[in-house]
């Protein structure tokens, strides 16, 4: 699936988007896999309460299933307007 990063999550991980092959059942499982990769991922995902997630462009929770998901995005709380 495509994994997207925005704002300081993007800056901390160092890229806006990557292709990830995963069998993760939920967003939380995917986060665990990413954290295990490298320090910059561990740093970006250190505090999940500071993060928001969208699956296929819909805001959701970290317990959301990834079954059939094509795109997951991680970002800080939004500051539009």
């Amino acid at each position: 699936m495509d994994v997207l990063y925005f704002a300081w999550v993007r800056e901390r991980i160092g890229l806006p988007k990557e292709r990830v092959e995963t069998q993760a059942a939920t967003v939380a499982d995917l986060v665990e896999e990413l954290r295990a990769r490298e320090a910059r991922y561990a740093a970006a995902f250190a505090d999940l309460s500071a993060l928001r997630v969208a699956v296929d462009q819909k805001l959701t929770g970290f317990d959301a299933p990834l079954d059939g998901a094509r795109e997951v995005a991680f970002f800080p709380p939004m500051t539009g307007g």
């Binding site: 805001l59 970002f75 709380p77 939004m78 500051t79 539009g80 307007g81």
Partner: protein, 147 residues
């Protein structure tokens, strides 16, 4: 209903006039305009707005549709810019048209409250060589409990 996400500036006056024109059945038009603010303390050089193409338009459309479901509205307009903006630049606007003023006001406030914390935009401020992401405010999240 019109939802626009663009890098280019928009003309508030032209948009307001076009939105209000010929509304013989709508007595009330409300607009909100957000402007890049240079706080005396911040000495802001520029504000950079990042967004999530695709999801942004979908989220704004969903928020505007929700507003039309909850209030008696004739029309809704949302324009939001992204990219690099300077102090004084217009960031975004919403407009609502309704038969009654209370509906137009409430729907515009609802749109703003949801757009603030539910549309995928992120602001970064550049001031005197330093830069930092604008943190979401608890009060913006709390504002959603009104609705």
């Amino acid at each position: 209903m019109r939802i626009v996400v663009q890098q280019a500036p928009f003309d508030l006056g032209a948009e307001a006039n076009a939105f209000a024109a010929g509304r013989r059945d709508m007595g009330a038009v409300v607009t909100f305009t957000g402007i890049v603010r240079d706080l005396a303390s911040a000495d802001l050089d520029a504000m950079e707005i990042e967004h999530y193409p695709g999801m942004t338009e979908a989220a704004l459309t969903e928020i505007a549709t929700e507003a039309r479901d909850r209030w008696s509205l004739g029309d809704v307009l949302v324009i939001h810019r992204f990219g690099r903006l300077c102090p004084g630049d217009l960031i975004m606007m919403v407009a609502t048209a309704a038969p009654h003023r209370r509906d137009a006001f409430e729907a515009a406030e609802f749109l703003m409250d949801y757009l603030k914390s539910r549309a995928p935009f992120w602001k970064k401020e550049h001031s005197g060589g330093a830069s930092g992401w604008v943190a979401a405010k608890d009060e913006d999240e709390d504002a959603l409990t009104r609705w």
